[in-house]
Structures are given as C-alpha cells and as structure tokens.
Subunit: 449 residues, 2 copies
C-alpha cells in the first residue's frame, strides 16, 4: 500500500491558542465542558484522524496565577478518554502521563484499562514533567535534574512494558467445565529491581488488546531523542521550518536504526497549527483576529510557563528584546527553541508571545486549504514527517475548517485515508503488534527441541 | 421526608462469589468485558440504586496463582466508571483508591475529573491496601504497619479534601470581553507540609460538582473506625448478624458525634449477598448450585487472599479445623472476622471457604423476595443500617433478581425511592454539599466588618 499521512488531533477543550476561549465561536467553558469534548472527538473521528491527543501538566502550570489561560484547570486525560471511548468507534486516544510522578504499576494498569475498554485504541505519551511547580505537588522542593528524570524515564517505560507483557495473550482459559480460569504457566512475575523501581508483578490486568498501547514521545533534547530512539513508536516534535524538521527526522531515523529497530515503525509527526481559509486573505484575517485577543500579562506568563518557570520576564519592557539568561535544568530544549525564534525574527517580547501563543513553538501555517495541503504534502514527501499532529488554534472552528476543507484535498491527492484501515490505533498507524517475550521464548525453546 | 433505604450495588464483572463466572448464565469473560459492565450499570440504574461500587486491589491478589478466580485481572475502577458515566444519567460511581500507594495530588485530580464528567456522581472508597504482595509492586518488600498505613490515610484524606477546595466554586469568571478567565483571589495554594506529604497546590481541576466526591470507608478495625468517624460519609461494613451490625452502628454514630459531626450525615451500609427466589426453596437451590461450582484449591487460596496472605492453609486437611495462628500486621479485622465465623459454626476449612465464597464475610440472605425484603426492613428499622451494599453472588442473574423481585416490594412498603430525588450522588444519598472553607472564611470576615 502507498504510504499515507498519519494525523493526530491536539484538542485541549480550552483551545491551543492562549486566547482561544475568547474566540466568538468558542464556548468559554470548553476546558471543563464534557459535551464539548465529545463534539470534538466526533469531529476528529469524522475527519478520520488516527488519534485524539492531549498534553498534560501536574500543576496549574504557566507560572503566574492571574490571567486568562483556559488550560489552568480541566480533565485528567485518561479519565476523559475513557469517557469518550464508548462514544466513538475508531478514533485513538493518546494520553500524556508522567514517569517522574507516577508509579509504573499504576500507570501500566490505567493504560491497560483504557486499551481494554476502547478495544485497542490507547496510546501513552511519555513525559518527565519538568518544573519546580509540579515537584512541589509531589513532596519535593525542586524537580529532579534533567538527566535524572530521563534515566528514570528509561527504567519506567521498560517496567511498564514488562507489566503489559506479564500475562501472555492466551493466558485466559475460562473453562466453565473444569473451573480453570487461567493458565498459571502463562502469567509471570516481572521481578524488576532497578535503581528507581522495584516491581514484582504481574499486572492485575490482561495483556492490552494492542499488546502494548502505542508509546509516544515528544522530547527534543539529546536525552529526549535517546529515549525516543529506544522506546517510542510515534514522536511528536516542534519545528518552525522544513530544514529543522528534516534534520530531526534524519537524526531520529538513524538513531532508531542504530538501536536495532525498524525506522518504518517509528512515526515522526511534527505539530502544525493551521489557520485555514477559503482564501489566503481569509486565513490571515482569522490569524489576526485571534492574536488581537491576547491579554499582554497572559502572553508574558505563557513564555515563563512554557520554559518551566525559567524565563521570568517581569519588569522587562514588552516592546524590548528578550533578556540574556543561562540555560537551566528545566525544559532545556523548549527554552532554546523559544530563544531561537526570537533571534531569527528579531522579535520583541510582545511579538514573541504573539507568535508563540498560536502554536507554542510548532509550525504555524496560514493559508487557503490548497496552500495548507501543499505544505503538508511537501513535508511528508521530503523526509520531514510521516504525519502531523494538528493543533487547531481555537475550537471548534479551526478543527472544523481542517476537517471540512483540508482533509478532502489530501484524500483527493491520495495522501490520506478515505476510511479507517483497522480496528485498533496501532492498526490504523500501521504499527506492528509487539510480540510477547514469554510466548516468544517458549516458541524458541520448542523450535529447538 | 420519611427516611428511606440507600442502596449500593457491588458489581465486579466476574461476580462476587468465587465460582460466579462458572454460573450457566454468567459470561465467563465478564471481568474483562466492557459491554457486560455497561449492562450491569444499566440494570443498577433501572433499579434506582444510589451507586455502582467497586472494590480494588493493586496486585493480582488472592495469594496463590493457579486457579479459578475471575477477579485476578480486570478494569481499573476509575477508568471503568469514567467510561460508564456518559452511558448513564443518575447512577453514582464509588471507586476504590489507595492512600498508601497513590499520591494525594493524582488521586484528588482523577476523582475531580470523574465527578466533572459525570456531573457530580463520583465517590471515593478510601482504602489503605493491605498485604505484602501489593507492597512488592511499589518498591517495598513488606507493607507498612497497620498503624502507619492509617496514620498516612488520615493525612492523605485531609490533603485530598484541601486540594478539592483549592478553587472556590465561583473562581471562574470566563469573561470574553475583558479576558479575565478566573479570579486569582479565589484560587489558593494549600501549602500542606505533613509527616507523609508535602503538597503546595492548587489542584489543576475545578472544585468538584459535589464540592467533594462522596467519601466512603470500609475499615472495621479500631484504626478503621477512627478514620471513618472523622472522614467518611458512607461506611460499608461486614456483619453476619443483626446484633453485630447494631453494635457497629451505635459505635460509629457515637464516634461521629464525638468528632463534632452530624450522625445523620454518615450513612452505614452493611453488605448483603442475596439469593432471591420466588420461593424459599428456589432460593436455596440457587445457593447450592453456586457453591457446588467451587474448586477446592480456589477456596483455600481465597481464605489466604482475603487475609492479605496471612492465612496459609497449605498442607492442612480440608475436612479438618482451621489451625491456630497469631494475629499479624495484615488486615487485622478481616482475619479476626473469618476466625469468628469458623468458631461460631464449628466449620471445617472446606465448610468455611464455602460459606465465605458467597459473601466474603458479609451477610448472606437466602429466601423468597418477601423474606429478603423483611430482613432488610428489620435491619433498617432497628438501628443496624441506613442502607445496604448489595453483593449479587453471581451476575447478571442475582442482580436482575434483586431489581425485579425485591426492589418493588421495598417500594410498596415505602422503604425505597420510586424515582431518583436528585441530580448528584450526594443529593440522592441525602448528604449535604461541603462548604468551601476559603469562601466560608471570607464570608465570616465580611460579616464581622
């Protein structure tokens, strides 16, 4: 089959842009409105998206307290997706969860449960949860170092995968006649004893429908890339231009190959924030309309929040340049990216937050539906992307625009599906179902005998 | 309004009785079948139950590995209930979660999220998760002592409640015109620094619809009763006879009063496992049919599992008496209860597990619908119960029997509702919505000025 674009939809109920909730079409309470999330899921499924994706923080986030950010309080992603699963049939659900502040047993179980009740549509976006604000909600004064968080993340992900594998696929017998419910030879302790975790297992959930829920990763730092290369099957990434996306794509695919994995089984999906119009002019006026709604104090707080509280601009003039500062432990890659944008464009603080407010470091496309489709096609065909994570700047309008105007063009060009191919998220993404290592080991022994 | 019986439905998909999955009417895969859980929720709502209740373990449980227990692997309660919430409209959902192995921030958030997406139908059953098997899934070799677990539980529950209160009810302004999304004066750090937890807050979820999800507790030990008296609004409890239930009822109501709380706002709901027939004879044959399905090894493993692995009967003859042993740290009250049953009835090991297999220490009623209703009425009117947690021995049959045969009798006697009174779980249970302490403090200051 021809290679086609994969699409995630990044749909926080309050919208992606910091002023999204002020948009005339948006419900002001979208962040905490379940029926609104249900409508978003239905639209994403109508658009044949692979998955609904949600980022997450374990604190109110964004540094300052005062202000207008709708993301400050809302649903926990796994419970929200569990509620949306029975209301949909094909859409995948990629929930963010933390390796720094959650235990492997609890995390493995909730994703196994989501995968079971959605019939194989769960994905886990692995994050290490930067920032002291979050650390202070979990018995610490400051966050662990970047290196420590990633070391723990490696061990965490391997432990979670081992727990998902602790029951073999055929462990359940359920024979009413003999009373044998399961085969004790096909359920296994994992006996993990590492630097960060000791977990005996087995998990108290059957092996997930997908074997493993799809493992997703988004870190762009050196540590993040290393983790992605050995663990991730989908990688979300933020790039401002084609060359940067191509560099990342080549680097990750090479790392994946060096790690002994098949590069075709690791999908790279940059974020794209599309302002779509019937004409370029209409798209541009949508862009300007939304940016005009940003309250300045919220813009400054956004920059600080995005860097885990390491970019405090209090007291600096809004129409002056970004002050110089040293790199800190929090969110290295994100602060570097934001500074690069400011440097490249010669932005003032105000111009910077206006730019960032739309897509937070992701690629912003403003144009007619044909122009937007052209951009996606170019990235997809020039080794910059296997698909995209679409970040509609406001909701529901920008999602509707993408589904109604851009998707049909991609379909006509043969670049996107016209019906779901499979039953599970993994099948739609074209990713193989992981073999169970216990089953594999027994098959190997039997073949040798 | 006349006082009426409150009803919880304890509906693990695999059934309550250890051999429930072998029942001819039961789906053998009920424990992991989402559509089956949906049917159970719909039946419970048709029966006007206050809530669907699920217990929980953080390990495969039940000591031995081999065997026929369907509870060994299944859904995580909060994700399951999140999925069932949009498919129902009035039924409450009481999920069990652990104060020993979960962080207050994460726990407060997932219940706030469940409460939000269910429009105020969440309840939290507070447990301390006994047993070394569980401890070994969470970086320990042995469990913390009983006293330590309960000390931590007290601090945990207070921290969770403070997080739920960190946003005042009217904190969200969402004024599109001014761009003010919330009132910074109505969101608060909790700044908790205790022996077990340091949590700064605020929670990244709005105050729950119910103020607090309903707090439920089930411990029967001295430590458990102390926790229930200061924290719980619903208390599940296990009694074999009226006198024992009355003693517990009187003791708890007195403790609640001494703690400065209103005893009418703490509902005591003993567990009842009903075998209902159109005649007593039919009920008795249902009871015998189910007990005949127990595999002996599973019965022995059940006794050990129920006591947190402290009652290892390997090597003792099944038709001999229960051996003497010392009380250990694990599940004090449960082991004492099981020994008491064996002593009172002069049971052999086999007879003991057959008795326990039905209701695990709860009250078993075998009789015609009128007889079962008589028993519930007697307990309800003689200060033994404010309601009951119904444990159908197998599913769906025993739940259907209760809803179709017993509920109409209770309704005719005026002992049970004929329609839901309220919108939230708290309203149906007749429990007040907790005031927010920050709002209260401001009102007090303003009144004094």
């Amino acid at each position: 089959m021809t290679r086609q674009i994969k699409l995630g939809a990044f749909l926080p109920g309050g919208g992606q842009h910091i002023a999204a909730w002020r948009h005339p079409d948006a419900p002001a309470d979208g962040a905490t409105n379940f029926e609104f999330h249900r409508r978003l899921a239905e639209t994403a499924e109508r658009g044949l998206f692979d998955a609904y994706f949600l980022a997450d923080n374990l604190s109110v986030g964004l540094g300052g307290r005062e202000g207008g950010n709708a993301k400050i309080a809302g649903f926990e992603p796994v419970t929200l997706f569990a509620a949306l699963a029975p209301l949909t049939t094909h859409l995948g659900f990629i929930a963010t969860a933390s390796t720094t502040y959650e235990e492997p047993y609890t995390l493995a179980r909730k994703f196994a449960s989501l995968d079971l009740l959605s019939n194989g549509r769960a994905g886990w976006n692995v994050v290490t949860s930067a920032g002291d604000e979050t650390a202070r909600n979990f018995n610490r004064e400051t966050q662990p170092s970047h290196a420590d968080r990633y070391e723990r993340a490696h061990e965490h992900v391997e432990t979670v995968k081992a727990l998902w594998d602790s029951w073999e696929d055929d462990a359940f017998i359920r024979d009413k006649a003999t009373g044998r419910f399961f085969d004790a030879g096909r359920v296994h302790d994992i006996d993990h004893k590492g630097k960060h975790f000791s977990v005996k297992g087995p998990l108290n959930a059957p092996r997930p429908v997908q074997g493993h829920p799809v493992v997703v990763q988004a870190g762009q730092s050196e540590d993040g890339r290393r983790l992605a290369a050995v663990s991730a099957e989908v990688i979300f990434t933020a790039h401002q231009n084609l060359a940067s996306a191509q560099e990342f794509y080549r680097d990750i695919k090479a790392r994946v190959k060096r790690a002994g994995r098949n590069p075709e089984h690791v999908l790279i999906m940059p974020g794209v924030a599309p302002f779509v119009g019937r004409t370029e002019e209409e798209a541009r006026s949508k862009y300007e309309e939304l940016n005009a709604l940003i309250v300045p104090e919220d813009g400054v707080a956004l920059l600080n929040g995005l860097t885990g509280g390491t970019l405090d601009l209090t007291g600096y003039p809004l129409d002056g340049p970004l002050p110089v500062s040293n790199e800190t432990e929090g969110m290295k890659s994100r602060q570097a990216l934001i500074r690069k944008i400011a440097d490249e464009h010669g932005f003032t603080i105000r111009q910077l937050y206006q730019w960032i407010a739309t897509a937070r470091g992701h690629y912003t496309v403003v144009g007619s539906a044909e122009q937007v489709a052209d951009q996606l096609e170019e990235w997809f065909l020039s080794e910059a992307a296997d698909g995209f994570n679409i970040l509609p700047p406001w909701l529901p309008g920008a999602l509707d625009d993408f589904v109604d105007l851009v998707i049909p063009i991609l379909q006509r060009r043969g670049l996107f599906r016209t019906a779901y191919e499979g039953r599970t998220l993994r099948e739609n993404l074209g990713l193989p179902r992981p073999a169970n290592p216990w089953t594999l080991a027994r098959a190997t022994v039997q073949a040798a005998e």
